[in-house]
Amino acid sequence: MLRILILISALLVAEIPVAAQSAADLTRQGVVAYQAGDLVTAIAKLREAQKLSPNDSNIRLYLGLMLYQQDPQNLEAQELLESVADRVSENSEVQIKLLDSYLATGNKAKTDRQLSRLQPLVDRDEALGFQVIYLLIRYGRSDDAREHIGKLGARIAPGTDAGPQAETGRKDSRLGELYFVRGILAASENRKEDALKNLQLADRHEFPPRDSHHMVMLADSLYRIEEFRLAWQAYEEYLKHNPSDVEARMRLGLSHYSLGVLEAAQAAFEQVRAADPLFPQVHYYLGEVFFLKNDLDGAEKSLQQELRNDPKCGPCMAKLARVFYQKGDNEQAEEYLGRARQLSPDWPETHLVSGLLANRKGRYEEAIKELEKVVEQLPDFPTGHLQLSIAYARAGQAEKSRQHRETYNRLLEAQRHSVASGIRDERKPR
């Protein structure tokens, strides 16, 4: 937002057409509103100005930028920016936003054209080159990103492919950023080893800087490749400088949650909830945390809140069914399970609760059928194997029971190894 603010202010100071004074007044009022953080009023003023002076390129530019800021997928913003693109062909900020707009709206032809248009600017400006790459990675245009990285690499570290052999021992932020984009590209393609290698190389060059917005890209990449412990550290670092980034805090919570660090996960989710009670799934994950902490009343309350925010939340229904099952309230469990079956019939927890209820009621064949689906979907989920082992044993199928008991024990053992190494490496207590 700050960049757009500077851009608009600068353009405004540069030229206001004398022939359309009233439109100029409205434009100024719009910019003042914008500077005050009132985007809605700003847009309204600019729209009025545009009515008075529909072909005024500055008004079209400002309005386009503001609408873009409101929503990068806004087609009106795209058209307005397109209409002035040639006039500001050297303005990389506008051009990159137009690229973002095309990518956001999935317009491949226009994206390709815009990439060509940007090429001369990119050739002169490495920073812009990186910006283009970040956008391409964000929107999954991996091949284009790779091509741009190759070109940039050839300039920054010619003839070396910017591998470890390019190392000279001194810190080089350009080289660091090159490794960084390679790392996040690899992460976006789930090439975990390559991602980690490049991100570590970037780190040797102290890239990204701890207070930069790149930290969140690093954190997101680590989260994507399920390096939750590293992701958690990166998010925490990023949030020190950007404490109000709710999305990042949510993912920090999810990193903790994925590691089973429930207290920290709860704290992060509670901060998200306080900042934005409507944030998608925040109550659901708080419910999950409460459930795992055996606070069934807390879990029920949070899940009900998520349902108020999102009445079609099938996983919430399934989790509520499990909460009531655990409380011993089969009737309520069945009720929520019925709704979960309608909304998310193939959600693993829907099958799990079906299996648990069937097991409890002695309907072992039905339990086996449901629980087999659970372990098919989640082969590393110990509870599924334990319950399946119980169901098979009670159905008289000893060999099948033994197999799932062994799988359950093996999964527990793997968890133990993970915890044990955690204790030694991370020095965590019981």
Partner: protein, 558 residues
Amino acid sequence: MLCPKRLVAVFPFLLVLAASEPPGITMRNLAPGNGVDFKQVNYATEMKYPYETLGGAVAALDYDNDGLLDLFFLNGSPSTGLTKTDPASFNRLYRNLGGGRFVDVTPKSGLSGEGKIGYPQGVATGDYDNDGDSDIYVTQYGDNILYRNNGDGTFSDVTAQAGVAMKEHPFKASACWLDYDNDGDLDLFATYYFQWTFKENGDDWCGDRKPGYRTYCSPDVFKPLPNVLFRNNGDGTFTDVSESAGIRQSLGKGMGVAIADYDNDGFMDIFVTNDKTPNFLYHNQGNGTFREIAVEAGVSANENGTMVSGMGCDFKDFNNDGYPDIFYTDLAGECFTYFENTKTGFFLDNTFPSLLGKYSAKFSGWSNKFVDLDNDGWKDMFVAGSHVVDNVELYNPRLRYMDPCRIYRNLGNGKVEDVSDLAGPDLQVLGAWRGVAAGDFDGDGAIEIAVSRLNDSAFFLDNPPPKNNWVLLNLRGTRSNRDAIGARVKLVLPSGLTQYEHVTTANGIYSASDKRVHFGLGQEKAITTVEIRWPSGKVQVLSDLGINRQHDIVEPEG
């Protein structure tokens, strides 16, 4: 689920119990004023050796056969050499003089442990040689010790002769006496905790590397071990039958042990809580072998299959349906667990339906016991509270090391109520509580509880004379083992209420309780019948037993 009104319609005797509902359970600590001045010393070091935070055993036994329950406490040992030379490290035996007074008789008894090597953990009591007095088995980090009661107030260390030191691994936890083969003498079952030696693990560092942050390691770090079953040869010696009996095949990190005949086939089964590994239920197959069936029985873990820090356990009939249920403790956030025996060989995890989960989620527990504290005919739950890690607050401010003890009152409808906060100020005292030994120490029919705590004075929780009626049965086997351990007692009251108990001394973790069978009778004025199924298989039916007194019952000959 039946509503309460319908329950009453179906089972009219519930009205009698409802009418007899007492105002509450209150307990008051009488120690050290009553002479029980034991203070445990755990000799904790900066090295955080795991055994330091364990132990704290206590036993309630009538060692001198004077009809009064005495108390035996185990103490810590200095980590240097683990040798008891410091008098503060001695174990203590307190003789019950009657009239609410105890006296320390340790020096004469030979139970102080002076000069012995090892760090005591648990205690098991039973008359293994059928000579009419209670012997004592002590588990340790180090070699276990069997003390034979000489019948004159003294004990002799007969470990070497008996062959029960358990030298294979140093770290042991709990033990219990049972007659698994019903041959008339008591056998011995003991748990290994995990593989930990000074040489291999003495320098293990867990926790942050800064002053005060070193902490006790999670058991996940260490390797599991098998448990051990010794068959009594009847001549003062034992044979390790763990392999042939099917015990040794299962690896765990054994903590508490409790026994009961869960399927009523006449043979005692064994339940073991494991620390962060699945629990064991060894089903006694009646032919000298066991099969570990915890998974299919549904008691290897809670319903979610999550591993908890299983600590103490008890195995009694909580819901008076004739089938023993299981209740065990763990750490805060994990919830104490209650498994209801469905009579079909399977158990249901009723932790939350019983409300135990709701009430216990914030607490950590060690030793525990099913015990009818208000004599209303329903066994309540008692728990000694505390976390394992003495600096846990540094890592998680929402947790605490010291907890109060807890009492969960059995409401008679499958649910419990946490009455701890109303049970008197002594129940609010925070401590590193460990062992629990329960019994009727003063003969008034109300159960008292001795609770040990690390590095502090033990409590003797007195239970005021009951408002409800009661009966105590002191069973003596003839063909069966003399302690009658394993005998199943069915008590029928005029209202139709039926209760079940069995003779055992093992409860919780590290602990041993009164072997006499106690029944609360509510406001019932008589007992219709008492049916005893002795371990020998003999069934004895008694009628018209008087209430509010103890009956000494001898197994009929022939």
